[in-house]
């Protein structure tokens, strides 16, 4: 990777490697490992989601569909074929997500703005409803329990490190995309779609490309999640999951590549620690979100950036 002179980039990768990498070594409970895994996988989900929204300007309210698809790819294989099919199940989820996002994408990229958002929600809820009703196959509202990865993957520590590596590799890939010509093109699609046609590029197919990429990485996060929780539930497919990933992204800042990951970490930590004290934790999240949207619309990372720029220019002004 090209390490540019960019502290944000370095800080982020340092957090991923050092903090998440040393967590098991400094002696943490399996509860902490699970919490860290949740942050990693939801973080990947949020970063992938933000490639759609923050980068390309496509607000999908249905990414739970692919997150859940990844989870159910694993869950259904393990339930119906056997636990040896855990890893192929992840692969199957990815393939299913690629095919489904291609098919749905072809339909929904024809509309933009709020119509796009509503359609993503509709497709998401459709798949949730099917999963919810089809009890014999999916376990319906009971979900699927006892999803134990086979062999060495059943070791919690090993599974944690595997998750960490896959998440790092995935976010690194997405980062590469965001710094590539395609990444620039996607930002251009958000800022001025009309002009994009006049540089000889297709707005629709650029959107379709990133919709598929984002969906496949969402499925990857969902598939790995099944092994962390050892179970899956229809909630993974429910619209609230799509909503949470939006909240996490807003919290961290959608204008920043790493914002959604940081937002996810803060969100999950609040959820866990406030949730342990009171069942009204969503109230706290709600208040925080209101504050963020009204007062700090750039999100945690974005506002930090802005603050830094202001201080720097003031220092320059003082000196001058």
């Amino acid at each position: 990777m090209e390490i540019r002179n960019n502290y944000k980039e370095i800080v982020f990768w340092a957090i991923l490697f050092v903090i998440f990498g040393s967590l098991p070594i400094i002696g943490s409970s399996s509860y902490h490992l699970m919490l860290a895994s949740h942050i990693l996988l939801w973080g990947l989900f949020a970063v992938a989601f933000n490639m759609l929204w923050g980068v390309t300007g496509m607000l999908s309210f249905g990414q739970a569909l692919y997150f859940g698809l990844g989870g159910y790819g694993v869950g259904l294989m393990v339930r119906h074929v056997g636990s040896d099919w855990f890893v192929p199940g992840i692969g199957l989820g990815l393939i299913a997500a690629a095919i489904l996002s291609f098919a749905i994408g072809l339909l929904i990229i024809r509309v933009s703005g709020v119509f796009f958002t509503v359609l993503t929600l509709a497709f998401g809820q459709l798949v949730w409803q099917i999963t919810f009703r089809w009890y014999e196959f999916t376990g319906g509202d009971d979900g699927i329990q006892g999803i134990i990865p086979p062999g060495i993957l059943s070791n919690k520590l090993f599974y944690y490190y595997a998750t960490l590596l896959i998440v790092i590799a995935s976010i690194w890939l997405l980062r590469r995309i965001s710094l590539s010509p395609l990444g620039v093109l996607l930002r251009c699609v958000r800022q001025n779609p009309n002009r994009v046609s006049f540089i000889g590029q297709s707005v629709r197919y650029s959107q379709l490309r990133i919709y598929i990429v984002s969906s496949v990485f969402s499925a990857l996060a969902g598939g790995l999640m099944a092994g962390v929780d050892n179970s899956i539930h229809t909630d993974m497919l429910y619209w609230t999951t799509s909503g949470e990933v939006i909240l996490m992204s807003v919290l961290g800042g959608i204008g920043q590549f790493f914002g959604p990951f940081i937002g996810t970490a803060v969100f999950i930590v609040i959820q866990e620690f406030v949730g342990a004290k009171t069942e009204y934790w969503p109230l706290i999240i709600g208040l925080i979100m209101m504050t963020m949207v009204l007062l700090l619309p750039r999100g945690l990372v974005g506002e930090f950036e802005a603050l830094k720029t202001r201080l720097q220019s003031r220092m320059v002004a003082d000196r001058g």
Binding site: E2, R176, I177, L179, S180, P181, L182, G183, V184, L185, R187, C188, Q191, N192, N194, R195, S197, F198, I199, G200, Q201, S202, S206, R209, V213
Partner: protein, 251 residues
């Protein structure tokens, strides 16, 4: 020599309003020409039909001897046509460099590469800097485009089109909203770009100093019709044009 662009009996109306009526003309390679006419004469609508964002009701458009009527802007651009916009159309949050580089990348069919860092595309980057130098914008290369002054944003809009290395470039009111000084500079700049980039250039303009200063051919539109077409001297003395548009003072 074959014409680069041929308009053959174009008609276009919106409901009952005729905006283009029986417009035919040919543009020779290397020509620099102006389209003038009062507001509402159908100048921009004509550009929109040539570049594919509007489909003419009737008639044909040939670009480099191939029919392009009904093609999308994207396909037409890929064949070597570029345009700038009356209302400045840039990518405001991107750097000035990135605005031009993305079109250079598009021209080289590298705009969809998802893996390599955009800064590593040496040829596209060099070309983008070359375009920015020609426009006098290189010193702003790293700044976000929205920070540029209005006049510089208009130039950047042209720069995005130039990054495509078009054979035919359409400029829609390149000096709209500029101060008289900026207009002078832009006039010289357009002339220089035309020479430097070997362009066939058509521009819409209201500033008659610019029109009569640099255009080889002037075409006058009125109420969607092509009222007159010819070298500046001829147009300046055309009685119909004077009555319809120019008025007395230009003589």
């Amino acid at each position: 020599m074959e014409p680069v662009l041929v308009l053959d009996k174009l008609d276009k109306s919106f409901g009952g309003l005729t905006v283009t009526y029986d417009v035919s003309f040919s543009v020779m390679p290397g020509e620099i020409s102006a389209i003038i006419g009062p507001n509402g004469a159908g100048k921009t609508t004509l550009f929109n039909q040539i570049t594919g964002n509007l489909l003419p009701d009737k008639g044909r458009i040939l670009f480099k001897n191939e029919q392009i009527t009904g093609l999308s802007p994207q396909e037409i651009v890929a064949r070597g046509m570029g345009r700038s916009f009356q209302i400045t159309s840039i990518f405001p949050e991107e750097s000035v460099l990135e605005n031009v580089r993305i079109s250079c990348l598009s021209r080289r069919k590298e705009a969809l590469n998802p893996f390599r860092n955009v800064a590593r595309f040496k040829e596209a980057t060099d070309q983008a800097y070359f375009v920015l130098e020609s426009l006098g914008l290189a010193k702003h290369a790293e700044r976000p485009a929205f920070e540029l002054a209005h006049g510089d944003q208009k130039l950047l809009d042209i720069g995005i089109a130039l990054g495509l290395e078009p054979q035919l470039l359409l400029l829609d009111e390149p000096t709209a909203g500029m101060s008289p000084d900026e207009r002078q500079l832009t006039r010289d700049l357009i002339k220089r770009l035309w020479e430097e980039f070997n362009l066939t250039l058509i521009f819409i303009e209201h500033d008659m100093d610019i029109v009569f200063g640099i255009a080889q051919i002037v075409r006058v539109l009125q109420l969607g019709r092509l009222l007159a077409e010819g070298p500046p001297e001829e147009i300046r003395n055309n009685p119909e044009v004077i009555t319809a548009y120019l008025g007395e003072e230009v003589r």
